[in-house]
């Protein structure tokens, strides 16, 4: 398994991180080093083994279906880079 520049660019796009084209070869190389390290996992016989979902066996607690929290608009917007009229403001989303 080897990652080329096109794949590196696709992953960066999926991760929503802007990577300049001239940085792609080095990025692809780093991915390959890390994935090469991860490839060791192929040596392990995992036939019939359940993938772990929770490290401590526990049943998630249920709670009453009631509102416990809310009415905190000002606090929620307090850290927004751009908040207007009680909303988060973002650049244009649709044409």
């Amino acid at each position: 398994m080897s990652i080329d520049e096109t794949t590196a660019a696709r992953v960066a796009k999926l991760a929503r991180i802007k990577v300049e084209p001239d940085a792609l070869p080095a990025l692809a190389q780093e991915f390959n080093n890390i994935l090469g390290f991860i490839e060791q996992l192929n040596e392990v016989d995992v036939e019939g083994v359940e993938p772990m979902t929770s490290v401590t066996p526990q049943v998630l607690k249920r709670r009453d279906d009631v509102v416990r929290d809310g009415g905190q608009q000002a606090k929620i917007l307090a850290n927004a880079p751009d908040a207007r009229e009680g909303f988060f403001a973002v650049p244009k989303v649709v044409e």
Partner: protein, 495 residues
């Protein structure tokens, strides 16, 4: 009393209760020490005014006869914990200016127990790193130096600021967090004690998430007794964290008998790595002899999947990180990039994240994105989760065979030089966690404590791994090892 900042939690608590000292005096001693320790770059946000108020309130509580476990004790808080109205950046540019409107459960528990917060501590960005060098604040510096050498050393990571601050007596203790070794490796590099409790023992609510199935908070202290005191104050069930365990928190300090006669201590043969420095092997053998002399039974055990822990970790942790860090999008908090004419929301996301995340965080988010992407999910992510099941089973088998705790080295080396690993492959840095990462994957409690020194005069630590939820027994075993090792060295003050 002189040098109040040099006290540990237990000694300071006893002095406070006897009325020999006030919390205001303790706190001022720490604030002066912090002021004179800028060169260590351990404290990155200072909260002297808050500390003064909390100290006064603690003194009043003590006077009124109400002195809970941490009452009046000045500590530092890792920057990963959200603290109300106080910058909480997780060492990242992307959270610049973020002022939480709420308090993390762990810091709230500590404040309820009377603790005084001196400020926020340096760390690797989003806790991703083993040397504190990925921090937006620049690296913290280890107060220890090699004998006859001025080279600056790493305090380890990611809780490097916490370790440096405790080792340099800038605070009595500090909080840390540990996803793959981020409490235990820095503790080992600085001659301090750090425990990562069982997954679920401390609430993760309000702790900036890195890899949610692995992250746990824990104390970093000067002694095992102090770790017992502080863990008791941090731990406990929290309805706000669905993975928090609804179990009573025992009195860890009361359980410190140090009597390990008849205890079975496992020595895993797979931890004897190729190329392990001789001084680490000797440290381990010395530790084994100390446990035996204290009456423990030493047994060889096998944890056959150890070798695969790091590769599994470097699938699972980046996968969870890529999901957790998706929230940093320039919309709700933190940094937003300046946009060019015509940029839409996708450009905003991409530019914001490119500017806000450092190289190691970007690398891990993208690796995580890749292993979760269509076509690779089974080959990487599911396979890693299956290997994780096997790693946990290795430990379960050892405990089922009667082993009470497991003794291993904490790190493969003493603290290394800052900048030494800059040009190395990222994988070389990942190897720092080779002895600690298994414990996170299996959700177990692990403690690192100093038991010896390197040939260059640096502290070295051993790790004890315990059964799930048996931190009390683990701490008592560590207490026995601490007494036997008698490590009391402190770094010479150069800063």
């Amino acid at each position: 009393m002189a040098d109040l900042n040099k006290l540990g939690l237990a000694d300071a608590r006893d002095a406070l209760r006897k009325g020999d000292v006030s919390s205001v005096e303790l706190t001022n001693a720490c604030l002066s020490a912090i002021e004179g320790a800028g060169a260590l770059n351990a404290f990155v946000h200072h909260t002297a005014d808050l500390a003064a108020d909390q100290a006064k309130a603690a003194d009043a509580r003590i006077k009124a006869g109400d002195a809970p476990a941490m009452c009046g004790l000045p500590i530092g808080i890792k920057d990963l914990f959200c603290t109300k109205g106080v910058p909480s950046q997780a060492g990242s540019r992307i959270l610049q200016g973020f002022l939480p409107e709420y308090e993390s459960t762990v810091s709230q528990n500590l404040f309820d127990a009377g603790a005084v917060m001196l400020g926020k501590l340096n760390m690797d960005e989003f806790a991703m790193g083993s040397s504190n060098e990925t921090s937006v604040y620049g690296n913290a510096v280890n107060p220890w130096r090699r004998a006859g050498d001025d080279a600056q050393l790493t305090p380890g990571g990611s809780s490097g600021g916490s370790a440096a601050a405790v080792a340099a007596d800038l605070c009595l203790a500090a909080t840390g967090t540990d996803t793959g070794g981020s409490i235990r490796q820095p503790a080992a590099f600085t001659g301090t004690v750090g425990i990562k409790p069982t997954y679920g023992r401390c609430s993760r609510w309000g702790v900036v998430a890195f890899a949610s199935s692995l992250d746990q908070a824990g104390p970093m202290t000067k002694t095992v007794r102090d770790a017992a005191i502080m863990l008791g104050a941090m731990a406990g069930y929290d309805a706000k964290d669905s993975t928090s365990a609804d179990l009573a928190v025992p009195d860890f300090e009361a359980a410190l008998t140090g009597d390990i006669r008849g205890k079975k201590i496992g020595i895993p043969r797979e931890y004897r790595m190729d190329g392990m420095p001789e001084e680490i092997e000797k440290l381990w053998q010395d530790g084994i002899a100390m446990m035996r002399d204290a009456g423990a039974e030493i047994v060889d055990i096998s944890l056959p999947h150890t070798k695969y822990a790091l590769p599994a970790y470097y699938v699972i942790a980046p996968a969870e990180a890529s999901s957790n860090l998706a929230r940093y999008d320039g919309v709700r908090y933190g940094h937003r990039a300046t946009l060019d004419q015509g940029d839409g929301i996708t450009e905003m996301y991409e530019k914001t994240r490119a500017e806000g995340f450092g190289p190691e965080v970007q690398r891990r988010v993208m690796v995580g994105t890749y292993v979760l992407s269509a076509g690779f999910y089974d080959a990487y992510y599911n396979r890693a989760r299956k290997v994780r099941t096997l790693i946990k089973k290795d430990f379960e088998d050892a405990f089922a065979a009667g082993v009470d705790s497991i003794l291993t080295p904490a790190t493969p080396s003493a603290a290394f030089g800052l900048g030494e690993m800059t040009d190395a492959d990222p994988v070389a840095m990942y190897l720092n966690d080779v002895f600690t990462v298994t414990v996170n994957l299996a959700g177990l409690p692990g403690i690192a404590l100093p038991t010896g020194t390197s040939t260059t005069g640096l502290p070295l630590g051993l790790q004890l791994i315990g059964r799930p939820w048996e931190e009390a027994d683990l701490l008592s075993t560590a207490y026995a090892l601490e007494k036997a090792a008698g490590f009391v060295a402190k770094p010479d003050k150069w800063w």
